[in-house]
């Protein structure tokens, strides 16, 4: 019996920011972006603002908020754990801020072979 492996986790400051943004205007959701400009950032929306498609992958929840990714992007990223964090400065694009003058970011960590085995045995590799 192995410990569960999380695809998305949040730092304490990200959890605080989620609580703050949620208290401020209601539930939120995240979608991991790709491509040009703000491509590698998680985009934070009010829950329901962004339409989730049939093929989007729900990586998990952080601080009670769902975190999604495009299924094609997931294939390229699935060997890494995403760590939701907060950086200084306002968001440059369409994302909600992580509190005043802050923005959400994702850091990444490559899963160990053991972790990948757990994910694969859960049918999630």
């Amino acid at each position: 019996m192995s410990a569960p492996v999380e695809r998305i986790v949040a730092t304490p400051s990200a959890r605080e920011a989620i609580a703050e943004v949620t208290a401020d205007g209601g539930p939120i959701m995240f979608f991991q972006s790709g491509g040009c400009c703000d491509g590698s950032l998680p985009i934070c929306f009010r829950d329901g603002e962004f339409t989730i498609g049939n093929h989007d992958v729900r990586l998990g929840t952080v601080g009670g908020s769902a975190f999604y990714m495009d299924h094609r992007q997931f294939e390229a990223w699935k060997h890494t754990q995403l760590i939701l964090d907060v950086g200084a400065g306002e968001p440059e694009g369409f994302s909600l801020a992580a509190g005043p003058d802050r923005h959400f970011i994702t850091r990444s960590r490559v899963f160990s072979e053991g972790e990948m085995a757990v994910l694969e045995s859960a049918g999630d590799g």
């Binding site: 790709g34 491509g35 590698s40 985009i43 339409t51 400065g89 369409f94 970011i105």
Partner: protein, 521 residues
């Protein structure tokens, strides 16, 4: 001393570096703050809020721009709607004259705008002087000509029935500009929209709102009031207000994939068309025969690889994956790394500097993160890999070393757009292997193929799933060559005559010249 002053261009220090905008002697004046450009006038934001605008060269604020709200977008839409009938009915001569006059005015202010753009974005002035601004000029001229040569059609359905097809303007459109080419990407969007008889409301990227306001100063008296409106502010608020407005007839966007989907979602809600350009991870493929001779062509191919550092890698079509045939990998990369090692980095206002500052602290943070992921995945740094420590006024600027990492195509540094001067390089065995790796990506915006074998170049060019395949060249952006993505790199094309169709309605008049009833009733 007098001799030095004679040879130094106006607006430069005695050392030949352009003086920073707003400083004594600079070619570029800077106001303490800027309102929105609406209806041909400068309009303060409704809520009276402003936001600081930084230069990535120094990391410090140098002016303020409007921090607009949805009310300001409405004001801009009011102005655009008030202007749309007259502009939409203007003659082709009038429209082309305006577009040509815009081009002439930009050209007359080329150096000033090049310095402003460098200061705004962090890109080297040698690029803005030679590429960004001249290309913007040419773009307006291209569409001035294109709109006059655009033809409708008439089809004789039968001897008494004719189908006429006319192009009619859409009306008022919304356009959202990215930060990487604040002026050139604005030109790419504004020129065809206006040429097709539309009025536009433009939202520049949040980190780069100012240089387009300098452009507006230059062309304010040329474009009829309300035809071009510019509103600055945060994307989450005014970008959303514009893109989701029921008062626009089309939305154009360049940016990342999630916002691209959001824009299309808003467009679907209003049942309007959209054009979205969403980035890439472009392969740049070097076959062994590039090394057959040590000649001008090889020199060009080496530069072709090093072009990943153009605009510090902040290009949707950055050739950020180099695929080099393994039989020549060591010899070819030795030459390339030597060239990369001689890239000069520093103050982008120095015309000898080849690589400037990343656009923002957030971009720098992302690039650093990707190098870290690459190392975790087992990639090797061949050169660079760190922030560039620069002193003096540049100490707080956002500089990153030109970097090359060797790895394999399944690594995230090969799969995701880093938007920085970081090249991911790998090898291939043969043509089939090169094609497989080239197409093993989510994106399909650009690609490069380098070979002395014309037949192979053609085969590869047709087989690569990307909207543009540069063949024995890279990073050329002439007006008249269609630009846009396959796969998740976007929907639609820019930079070509066909844009006039994208910014027009098709009106069909189906006319009967017969007196005979149908006979049904």
């Amino acid at each position: 001393m007098a001799v030095v002053e004679e040879v130094v261009e106006s607006g430069m220090t005695p050392e030949g570096v352009f003086i920073a905008p707003g400083q004594a002697g600079s070619l570029v004046e800077v106001q303490p703050r800027y309102g929105n450009f609406i209806g041909g006038r400068w309009v303060p934001p409704t809520k009276g809020q402003y936001m600081q605008n930084l230069s990535p060269v120094t990391g410090h604020a140098f002016t303020e721009v409007a921090r607009s709200s949805a009310e300001d977008v409405e004001l801009a839409l009011d102005a655009a709607h008030a202007a749309k009938d007259a502009w939409g009915e203007s003659s082709l001569t009038e429209r082309a004259t305006v577009l040509n006059a815009v081009a002439d005015a930009i050209e007359a202010n080329l150096t000033m705008l090049a310095v402003a753009e460098s200061w705004e974005n962090g890109k080297p002035v040698r690029e803005t002087l030679a590429a960004d601004i001249p290309l913007a000029v040419d773009h307006f001229r291209y569409f001035a000509g294109a709109t006059r040569s655009l033809q409708g059609s008439s089809t004789e359905i039968d001897k008494d029935t004719v189908a006429y097809h006319f192009h009619e303007p859409l009306g008022v459109v919304g356009q959202i500009i990215p930060f990487n080419f604040p002026l050139l990407m604005a030109a790419w969007k504004i020129a065809p929209a206006l040429a097709a008889g539309n009025c536009t409301v433009v939202k520049p990227a949040s980190p780069t709102p100012w240089s387009i306001l300098k452009l507006a100063e230059v062309i304010a008296d040329i474009v009829p009031p309300g035809v071009l409106n510019i509103v600055t502010g945060p994307g989450g608020e005014i970008g959303k207000a514009l893109a989701s407005s029921p008062r626009i007839a089309k939305i154009g966007f360049t940016g990342e994939t999630t916002t691209g989907r959001l824009i299309m979602q808003y467009a679907a809600e209003n049942l309007i068309p959209s054009t979205v350009e969403l980035g890439g991870k472009s392969p740049n493929i070097f076959f062994a025969d590039v090394m057959d001779h040590d000649d001008r062509y090889l020199d060009k191919a080496i530069e072709g690889l090093v072009l990943y550092a153009f605009n510090k890698g902040e290009v949707c079509t950055c050739p950020s994956r180099a695929l080099v045939q393994e039989s020549v990998y060591d010899r070819f990369m030795e030459r390339c790394l030597d060239r990369i090692g001689r890239i000069t980095q520093g103050n982008p206002l120095d015309p000898t500097v080849m690589i400037g500052a990343q656009n923002s602290a957030q971009q720098l943070e992302k690039i650093t993160g990707y190098v870290d992921i690459g190392l975790q995945e087992g990639a090797r740094v061949l050169i660079g890999g760190e922030r560039t420590p620069l002193g003096g006024d540049l100490v707080d600027g956002y500089y990153f070393e030109p970097t090359v990492m060797k790895g394999t195509n399944d690594m995230r540094i090969f799969q995701e757009e880093i938007f920085g001067p970081v090249l991911a390089v790998t090898t291939f065995k043969d043509e089939a292997d090169a094609l497989r790796i080239a197409n093993d990506t989510l994106y399909g915006l650009g690609a490069g193929v380098w070979t002395r074998d014309g037949n192979r170049a053609y085969r590869m060019g047709r087989a690569i799933k990307a909207g543009r395949v540069w063949t024995n060249c890279y990073h050329l952006y002439p007006a008249g060559a269609a630009f846009g993505g396959y796969k998740i790199s976007g929907v639609g094309r820019e930079n070509h005559l066909m844009m006039l169709e994208h910014y027009s309605q098709t009106k069909n008049l189906l006319v009967s010249y017969s007196d005979e009833p149908l006979g049904f009733f």
